[in-house]
């Protein structure tokens, strides 16, 4: 029997790094995981071999066919990236630049509005340990870590014993959401707001902070003004506050404007006390999928290279828009399942063009992909670097041998094949 300590979980943006893995004849068992992590380490169906048009081929043949499709496309879309390692992403960005295609990652249907907001305002944030050690006020806004980042409350925010904050009893926890989530059940206070009302409520809170509460109506978007006054008072009087927000802000009406407003609220709070704001990033390396292209070419997502250099425009080059407008003629999908997670209208075009998919598991996109290339599981069968939701780099180890190539190896080969076909 083999016991491995401090292994890292590759499900959500927490990237918990205290997972205990036990390997014996019966297989792999884990300790310290949440329910999501528990399932992550179980055996799931695998894509058994590389395929072209449903026929079994070798890796080399699959990669060659993929390269030919990409090279012969006018504008390939290279999408996914949030569930693989930085080393693979770097090849993806280089490929997109070489091909004159488009690079986009899954943040474009996740926290991309946070990026748009950051472009307008910047973002005052902290690492998770700062929240753990100091935050005596936590506000979870439009996020539900108990379901989406289950160990966030225990490891980083609500429950842990911090250096300056002794633990749960010393923290005041508020949940703001449209429904009473599982996270609301562990909070001290739940403020229910109607869908699509975030912008209005944050605006009211900024008014209150600016001393203009008398100008407010009795209720804002159905929430009594005095409730908001009391919340803002708590924020102002916290020693160190953290506003942790999720897709409730980025995916409802207002999107980036909701986030921008929340960031400004937090920036203004820093004239009174210390306050930080942090997006609850979803996939275990969605941050890397933003960060790698940013240093490689300057932008995080929705990048078009058709002019030979990087252009950023989410209204044109995000996966949803580019598919909706039928503006790409092939797609390379890496570690993602757009057929399951994009609006139906965008999925339709994806099914109409040649798709190359690199993924360990069969999924809905595999169903119509022309080229399917199985890859090993990062953090289990393959190594590499990922960034936690707060940008802390984490190096994944592998603990199982695999007959599959890693994303990095596949993309490296694909890159060289494309260079070979196109010439330097």
């Amino acid at each position: 029997m083999r016991v491995l300590y401090d292994m890292k979980c590759t499900f959500c943006g927490n990237v918990c790094d205290d997972i205990l893995i036990q390997i014996d004849e019966d297989g792999v068992s884990t300790k310290n995981t949440c329910k999501l992590g528990y399932h992550k380490f179980l055996d799931h169906p695998r894509i058994e071999f590389p395929q072209v048009d449903g026929q079994k081929v070798s890796y080399d043949e699959a990669i060659e066919t993929a390269a030919e499709i990409l090279v012969n496309s006018k504008k390939p879309l290279l999408y996914g990236w949030a569930s693989t390692v930085n080393e693979a992403i770097a090849y993806g960005v280089a490929l997109a630049e070489k091909l004159g295609g488009v690079y986009d990652n899954t943040s474009s249907v996740c926290h991309a509005p946070s990026t748009l907001a950051t472009q307008e305002t910047g973002i005052p944030a902290s690492t998770l340990g700062q929240v753990k050690n100091r935050a005596d006020l936590l506000i979870f806004w439009g996020c539900n870590p108990m379901s989406a980042h289950p160990r966030h409350p225990t490891r980083y925010s609500v429950f842990p014993r911090g250096f300056f904050v002794e633990g749960r009893r010393k923290r005041h926890v508020v949940v703001v959401d449209v429904r009473k989530t599982r996270t609301a059940n562990i909070a001290d206070e739940f403020i229910q707001i109607p869908p699509n009302s975030d912008y209005h409520i944050i605006t009211a809170m900024r008014m209150i902070l600016a001393g203009k509460e008398d100008d407010l109506p009795n209720s804002v978007a159905g929430v009594p003004a005095e409730k908001l006054v009391s919340l803002v008072d708590k924020m102002r009087n916290a020693r160190f506050g953290a506003l942790l927000y999720g897709l409730g802000m980025t995916q409802s009406r207002g999107r980036n404007k909701n986030v921008e407003n929340a960031i400004r609220l937090v920036q203004e709070l820093n004239s009174h006390t210390r306050f930080v704001i942090q997006p609850m990033r979803g996939h275990f390396n969605v941050v890397g999928a933003d960060q790698v292209p940013t240093w490689e070419v300057g932008f995080p997502y929705a990048i078009d290279f058709s002019r030979g250099y990087a252009r950023f425009s989410p209204g044109e080059f995000s996966v949803t828009e580019i598919l909706r407008r039928k503006d790409c003629d092939s797609a390379l999908v890496v570690s993602s399942d757009p057929a399951a997670h994009l609006p139906a209208r965008s999925v339709k075009h994806l099914a109409d063009i040649p798709v190359i998919q690199i993924d360990p598991h069969p999924n809905l996109t595999t169903r119509f992909a022309k080229v399917v290339i199985p890859s090993s599981l990062v953090g289990i069968e393959a190594e590499g670097t990922v960034y936690r939701m707060d940008g802390i780099p984490m190096r994944l180890k592998k603990f199982k041998e695999s007959e599959y190539l890693s994303d990095e190896e596949i993309l490296e080969r694909l890159y060289h094949k494309v260079v070979e076909l196109m010439g330097a």
Partner: protein, 149 residues
């Protein structure tokens, strides 16, 4: 009349309007991650994944109004499409809101328009919810429908 109590709670002049219609109920759809969805996301062709994402969570009072029980089917229709889902009662969902786990089912009815941001509106979509006898499509059938559109 009970409906109006809830309307009053959410009267805002700008966000949702909640009106009783003949056949069904006007509601607001919110999609998002659930534990079940996340647990089986690497196994999308499994029964568990299907059971985790082909449902909607509805407030018990709204269920009563629609005369539906846990496990019954409803059809949710928005400007952008419709989908048949099994019902789960959840008292933590406010009346007038319906929660659908993210995934292929939710994506039949969300607003694909991104208003230049690249982000479709996955949350807060006006919808009509009504009882139906139609069956819930399997994941495969659902995708086949999209592709062959």
């Amino acid at each position: 009349m009970i409906r109006h109590v809830f309307i009053a709670r959410f009267i805002t002049g700008h966000c949702i309007s909640q009106v009783v219609v003949n056949m069904g109920l006007k509601a607001n759809v919110v999609t998002g991650r659930s534990l079940g969805q996340g647990s089986y996301v690497d196994d999308k062709l499994s029964k568990e994944y299907f059971e985790a994402v082909s449902i909607c969570e509805v407030n018990p009072e709204d269920c009563e109004y629609l005369s539906i029980e846990e496990g019954d089917r409803v059809k949710i229709t928005t400007e952008f499409g419709s989908v048949v889902l099994s019902v789960k009662k959840n008292k933590d969902i406010p009346s007038g809101v319906v929660f659908v786990p993210m995934g292929p089912y939710a994506n039949q009815i969300i607003d694909p328009e991104t208003t230049g941001t690249g982000m479709p509106q996955f949350k807060g979509i006006d919808a009509t919810i009504e009882k139906t006898d139609e069956k819930v499509l399997e994941v495969n059938e659902l995708i086949e429908n999209v592709i062959s559109r």
